[in-house]
């Protein structure tokens, strides 16, 4: 009973801290690339608006990145504090991958971030651009390694098991490029780009609603909507391929996502329904006959295995991931729709004047974050009851630590996160409310530093 409580708390704690963490990388991966593009355009075309936008988003990047770093440091200690048995067993395989992440990604980001934020006047423009690029590469490498780690937990490969029960690496290429990794990496990177694009678009749309001649706001919305129009459909394709890969390696997860309890030939595509894990049945409200088999097996009459035909102790909770999956896909479809609408408006030359479009863009601002979290919940809850799929159960991964310790730390994390990241979000919104199209250097002189400058001269 005692263990049971500790494990639930540990799971909740992990889900809580990682969900908070992912919010920031999802935004900073995209934003780092966006900043690199803006600075590149500025160096190339010398148009003032690009520099203004660069400075504008740089400040937001700094806040988001800072929160990404501190929430990330917490992550790297979670494995050891709460999942020590997991750490002991998987350390030989996952440790080096995370080690490479620190060496190739975190140092690169941190090393050049200082120059990116503070160095504009200290190093030349070219070198500054180089620093921006390095930070962007850093975020990419970080995603590469951590997603390799995560994918290996879903589709372990290239290992053996030694006499103390540890996973021992046999083939690093197979480990790093494990079967689900290419799909997950593609899908997550595009998710990050979409997330950022919709934030940028929403801010642009907001300022356009205030003043539809605002050049910087126009540039933002336009850039963001190109991204949506191109990447959102690609994300659908990537997601579909990811799903097919999952069907091959984790069929129980797919059954839960789709709400299939019974094995059926010519399974329907259930759009909406109420899954019930206790009764092992779904009361489907809307379904399209045979389409499920078509999507998953490209054959209207193919057989899809239902949850009832998996061992009872290896079934993920469909009640959760049936919904989280639909939230993600629904948002994906909405993004595609918005992308198409933006193309139509451009074609009719009403892109900057359609108020309703701008309002919808604003509403869609946070959509990426919700889809990312929903996507991760689908993936991770769908892996249950395993931490290493098919190999190591969650219940056998947890630290031998007293439940009160986990409960206390959980409470402390919750309070700190809401206070600190709440404040950060508030500052980000405050920054959003500033008009991007004004000269930043003017405001700077009257800011806090202008005051300190005067005081210093007197001293």
């Amino acid at each position: 009973m005692h263990m049971f409580e500790a494990i639930d708390l540990a799971r909740f704690q992990f889900a809580f801290v990682v969900s908070f963490h992912i919010i920031f990388p999802a935004f900073t991966i995209g934003l780092a690339s966006y900043l690199a593009v803006l600075e590149g355009l500025w160096l190339w075309k010398r148009e003032d608006r690009y520099l203004k936008l660069f400075n504008y988003w740089l400040k937001i990047f700094a806040i988001a990145f800072g929160m990404g770093v501190v929430s990330g440091i917490v992550m790297s200690y979670q494995f050891g504090t709460n999942w020590s048995v997991f750490s002991d067993k998987t350390g030989p395989v996952l440790g080096p991958l995370m080690g490479y992440e620190v060496l190739s990604a975190f140092f690169l980001e941190a090393g050049f971030l200082g120059i990116m934020l503070f160095g504009m006047n200290k190093v030349g423009k070219k070198l500054h651009f180089f620093a921006t690029l390095m930070v962007a590469f850093g975020t990419f490498f970080s995603a590469f390694w951590i997603l390799s780690v995560n994918s290996w937990m879903h589709t372990p490969a290239g290992f053996s098991i030694n006499d103390v029960g540890q996973f021992v690496p046999e083939n690093w290429i197979e480990i790093i490029f494990n079967p689900s990794f290419p799909y997950r990496l593609t899908h997550m990177l595009m998710a990050a780009y979409l997330t950022t694009a919709f934030v940028v678009g929403a801010v642009g749309a907001w300022h356009l609603l205030k003043n539809n001649k605002n050049l910087c706001a126009r540039t933002m919305l336009s850039m963001a909507m190109w991204m949506a129009a191109i990447v959102a459909p690609l994300q659908l394709i990537a997601g579909d391929m990811h799903g097919l890969n999952t069907l091959e390696y984790q069929p129980a997860k797919i059954a839960a996502m789709e709400g299939h309890y019974e094995t059926k030939k010519g399974a329907p595509l259930i759009l909406f329904g109420i899954p019930d894990d206790d009764a092992m049945e779904i009361n489907s409200i809307v379904e399209i006959p045979k389409l499920g088999s078509m999507i998953l097996k490209h054959d209207f009459d193919a057989e899809i295995k239902g949850l009832k035909d998996f061992p009872a102790d290896e079934i993920p909770p469909a009640e959760i991931i049936f919904w989280s999956f639909r939230i993600m896909v629904g948002i994906g479809m909405a993004m595609i729709a918005l992308g198409v609408w933006s193309l139509l408006l451009r074609w009719k030359d009403k892109f900057y004047s359609t108020k309703l479009f701008h309002i919808v863009c604003m509403i869609m601002g946070p959509a990426g974050f919700i889809a990312v979290i929903a996507g991760w919940i689908t993936t991770e809850v769908g892996r249950q009851p395993f931490t290493i799929y098919g190999m190591l159960k969650t219940i056998d991964s947890v630290s031998p630590i007293d439940a009160p310790a986990v409960a206390t730390s959980l409470l402390v994390f919750i309070v700190t996160y809401f206070l600190v990241f709440g404040a950060g979000t508030y500052y980000i919104f405050k920054q959003f409310s500033i008009n991007p199209d004004i000269d930043k250097d003017q405001t700077k002189k009257v800011g806090s530093l202008g005051v300190s400058l005067k005081l210093f001269d007197k001293a």
Partner: protein, 332 residues
């Protein structure tokens, strides 16, 4: 030399790099309560704003390296130090965000400065506590920690927690002596001397206390002929104390900082002497805890390639921001 030992040395390097680098920027938070004017605080903060993230990355390398190279040690030590490590993380969060947040809202600067102070002191104190608890030894049964979640709490660990606050305080004030001028600098010279004396007293007490924690530690330091090999460490501490003191009295610019680092290095070597060949005192040694050879080799390649590159660009960043920090150096 075995690859396990190489890895132990790499980890020592990462941890020492962390202690010095994050030591001085946590130290700024420890000195902050004594810096009261806003513009001095702005400058103090800006001396590390471009580099603190890089400094903290060594902590991630330390943790990540332990996970990769000595997974058994990682999975024993972290649950044993659950409370101090969690408290340290909370401290690091509070101070980490303060770097940005304090500029965002003029009416709230005070609040974020407090968060910076509290966060820095908390993180430092609990790092010291973790060190003390670690030295006292971690009970192991099978392949996991066997103790309750208050096991870390002892007079010794509280004492090392306080000791580290003074130690990082010294690194912080001597760093600021180097990076600031005029009034701020004089202020820091005053504080530096005090932190120096407090640190010395603490080093002395911890050095005398540690050998009595375990008979094994005592053996390492006082048995003949070992005593001949280890004697240089206290002697060098004595010499560098004299030089550090002299540099502080003579108001040198960079020297107090460098000599403080030397003092830290010697204390660190002293600790390593006490612990070796264990990775978790009292009973788990480097070879027992090491990951399989294939893991060690694979990441070693990465370390050999990346660490020189990291040192190169990190030095470049320090070079870009060299010299005295001026009050208008910020993008905010």
């Amino acid at each position: 030399m075995s690859i396990e030992l190489i890895w132990a040395i790499i980890l020592c390097f990462a941890i020492f790099a962390y202690v010095v680098l994050d030591g001085f920027d946590l130290g700024i938070g420890i000195n902050y309560p004594f810096i009261t004017s806003k513009w001095e605080r702005d400058i103090a903060m800006n001396t590390v704003a471009p580099i603190w993230d890089g400094n903290e990355t060594w902590l991630i390398l330390g943790g990540g390296g332990l996970f990769a190279a000595f997974p058994l040690a990682y999975s024993v030590v972290l649950p044993a130090l659950y409370v101090p490590l969690t408290a340290m993380l909370i401290g690091l969060i509070l101070r980490g965000v303060a770097f940005e947040f304090r500029w965002k809202d003029k009416s709230k600067t005070q609040i974020w400065d407090k968060a910076f102070i509290i966060g820095s002191i908390t993180a430092t104190f609990f790092q010291g506590v973790a060190l003390g608890a670690f030295l006292q030894g971690i009970p192991i049964e099978g392949r996991s920690f066997n103790g309750d979640w208050w096991h870390w709490l002892t007079p010794f660990s509280i004492f090392t927690g306080i000791a580290l606050i003074f130690g990082y305080g010294l690194l912080g004030s001597t760093w600021l002596i180097y990076k600031t001028e005029n009034k701020t600098k004089r202020h820091m010279q005053f504080l530096g001397k005090r932190f120096f004396i407090l640190t010395l007293v603490m080093i002395l007490i911890v050095s005398l206390w540690t050998p009595y924690l375990h008979p094994e530690y005592f053996q390492k330091w006082f048995s003949y002929p070992r005593i001949l090999y280890v004697l240089p460490v206290p002697l060098l501490v004595l010499i560098s104390t004299v030089f550090c003191f002299r540099a502080l009295i003579k108001n040198y610019d960079l020297q107090p900082f460098l000599w403080s680092i030397v003092l830290f290095l010697l204390s660190f070597i002293g600790l390593m002497i006490s612990i070796y060949p264990n990775i978790v005192p009292p009973g788990l040694d480097i070879w027992q805890a090491a990951a399989p050879k294939k893991s060690l080799q694979f990441l070693l390649i990465g370390v050999l390639i990346f660490i020189p590159i990291i040192i190169a660009y990190t030095s470049f960043t320090y070079w870009v921001f060299r010299g005295k920090t001026k009050p208008n150096e910020s993008y905010h």
